[in-house]
């Protein structure tokens, strides 16, 4: 692998992150209302106190110095203190990361696997009834707003069938006999949001996979492989798949990075205590430091995921790998 290219991608990633930081910094300075008023909320602030707060937060400095201070604090892991929770933003986020990662991770894996299978089968049977069926299903799922899907699931499983818990991640405040029991409890709570997310994501994967496979199948090297006498399965597995997976890598990476954004709808509908609902609450309650923190985290996650996908691409696609500068 070419170190230079990776270094270049890394520089790009950092440039993007710099944009993100800049954006983040300014965005939260144009949000309505005075940031000082937010900081002093609840207390009865005198003008001197306000001035003090300004000074304390460096708000009396010119913007570039403020930005510098912001960067300095950031590099020390200091994202400020949440207004709502009155705890360091990093701690608040830390507590919420795992549920989101678990939920999205599992849903992603299911969606990727099912989506890829759907896509391949659909492409292979292009024009047949099976393709029509799979493609319509994928398109339908793709078109469905995630939250609405969630509402439907609640309606079916919680209101009519009454078989699954409706919200949250665990039965709250209970002790379990062992970890296995606790895990079971979490799994039961996870089923609906996970189905919802999985269904919501299958469509995109399936559709993308289908068109890339169709693309790849029309390449000459596929005809060559067939001419060599290989079975359809082998041609698909050995020749079509590695090439078709390349565009999928990027898609998967971006989606993985979208963890926070993607979770907002599902976590809101199912009250899943993850980053998505945290972000929603931070927004509704104007908890700027927290909002900023989650926003920063989620964008950095995407940039990072993209960077990883580039690296992966380098490793998987020999053309990119040795296309030296």
């Amino acid at each position: 692998m070419d170190k230079k290219r990776i270094a270049k991608k890394l520089v790009y990633a950092f440039i993007t992150i710099f944009f993100v930081l800049l954006f983040n910094f300014f965005l939260f300075r144009v949000l309505p209302g005075d940031i000082v008023s937010m900081l002093s909320r609840g207390g009865k602030a005198t003008p001197e106190m306000l001035a003090n707060i300004r000074k304390m937060y460096g708000l009396d400095l010119p913007w570039y110095q403020q930005f510098f201070v912001y960067l300095k604090n950031l590099s020390a892991g200091d994202l400020g203190v949440s207004f709502m929770y009155k705890k360091p933003v990093l701690d608040v986020i830390g507590a919420r990361i795992l549920p989101t990662v678990v939920l999205l991770g599992v849903a992603e894996i299911f969606a990727i696997l099912i989506g890829i299978v759907f896509g391949i089968v659909s492409a292979w049977k292009r024009g047949k009834a099976l393709d029509t069926g799979l493609l319509s299903t994928s398109l339908l799922l793709y078109s469905m707003p995630t939250f609405w899907l969630g509402m439907m699931l609640i309606l079916i499983f919680c209101v009519y069938l009454k078989v699954l818990p409706i919200s949250g991640m665990v039965t709250p405040g209970r002790l379990f006999v062992d970890q296995w029991a606790q895990l079971q409890d979490i799994l039961r709570h996870m089923i609906l949001p996970m189905i919802c997310l999985t269904l919501g994501m299958i469509g995109e994967y399936a559709i993308t996979m289908r068109s890339t496979v169709i693309d790849v199948l029309s390449e000459d090297y596929i005809t060559t492989a067939k001419a060599k006498g290989f079975s359809d399965g082998y041609v698909l597995r050995r020749h079509a798949m590695p090439n078709a997976m390349l565009p999928m890598i990027t898609l998967i990476a971006i989606n993985l990075g979208m963890i926070v954004g993607g979770a907002i709808q599902v976590e809101t509908v199912f009250s899943w205590p993850g980053l998505g609902s945290l972000m929603y609450n931070a927004l509704v309650n104007r908890d700027y430091p927290l909002l900023q923190g989650v926003f920063l985290l989620s964008t950095v996650a995407v940039v990072f995921a993209n960077f990883l996908s580039d690296i992966l691409y380098e490793m998987v696609d020999p053309r990119v790998r040795s296309m030296g500068g």
Partner: protein
């Protein structure tokens, strides 16, 4: 020769060819019909089912199931769901259309300029595009909507401003390939400037792709409007499907089993988004020679 080869005639013939392809393509046909139905409903529907979000029924009208008088029942404010739905289609489609237009204009300009200029301009524009592509759209939209306040114009603005990056990418890629085509070189060789080339050569050639990708953006725009409204960032002064779903969810229509309140708007959203998606994929297939079977 007797054949009339006027411009208009030829254009009509091309259009007919395109329509023939659309007709032959079941996906495109379905999408077009469904969309046409909704557009028509949005235009003429309100004349038959006049509706005002601010006009409420009486207490006994609240959440009445479908029946005579109210074909689709009533909502939690005693309003006719069908009328609501029709009025909502206007806003939803309008937001979708305008946001898409905005996104198309921004995306096309940035994509063409970046792709054609190359070098530093390309690099800077693409970093910006990357940024918008990378930034999680829903949080960004929510934050922007919070800054700007809730009105359909702001929603349009927010969706437009946050969703152009994909289009810009597609346009840039296409521009890069068009730029390498010899007709561009030929035009350079007769001394044409960049503006001329971008406008007369690149734009018409990237347009079909822009068209196909924008249709998909339209689908996304409608989903975005619905989602934002659902999450409470919608415009309360206008009826939209997203707002209907918002109120339905807030008032617990799901759990009380008032299916007539949240099923129809949901189905409408799915139908329209699906229609756009179908058309997008079908047009992509029609217009993108790479996907054509050999």
């Amino acid at each position: 020769m007797a054949v009339n080869k006027t411009k208009a005639n030829l254009r009509r013939r091309r259009m007919r060819e395109f329509l023939d392809q659309v007709k032959a393509n079941k996906m495109a046909l379905t999408g077009t019909i469904v969309l046409a139905f909704f557009v028509l409903t949005a235009i003429i529907g309100p004349f038959f089912f006049p509706f005002d979000v601010m006009e409420f029924g009486n207490v006994e009208d609240i959440l009445q199931p479908p029946g005579p008088g109210h074909i689709l029942g009533t909502d939690d404010m005693g309003r006719d769901v069908l009328g609501y739905l029709i009025a909502g289609s206007r806003v939803s489609l309008l937001v979708g259309a305008l946001a898409t237009l905005l996104c198309m204009v921004i995306g096309t300009i940035i994509g063409i300029v970046a792709g054609y200029s190359g070098k530093a301009v390309d690099n800077i524009l693409m970093r910006i595009t990357d940024f918008f592509l990378v930034i999680p759209w829903l949080p960004l939209m929510m934050v922007l909507a919070a800054i700007l306040g809730t009105s359909i114009w702001n929603i349009i603005l927010v969706i437009g401003v946050t969703s152009w990056a994909g289009t810009a990418r597609v346009v840039r890629a296409q521009t890069l390939s068009v730029r390498e085509r010899q007709f561009v070189e030929r035009t350079v060789s007769i001394g044409a400037g960049s503006g001329h080339i971008m406008l007369y050569h690149i734009l018409p050639n990237v347009f079909p792709l822009v068209f196909a990708s924008t249709i998909l953006v339209a689908a996304a725009a409608i989903t975005s409007e619905t989602t934002l409204s659902f999450l409470g960032m919608g415009d309360p002064a206008h009826a939209s499907w997203g707002m209907m779903l918002h109120y339905a969810f807030e008032t617990g229509a799901t759990s009380t089993g008032a299916w007539w309140y949240f099923l129809p708007p949901g189905i409408c959203v799915v139908a329209v988004v699906l229609a756009f998606t179908l058309m997008g994929y079908a047009f992509d297939e029609i217009l993108n020679p790479k996907l054509k079977e050999r």
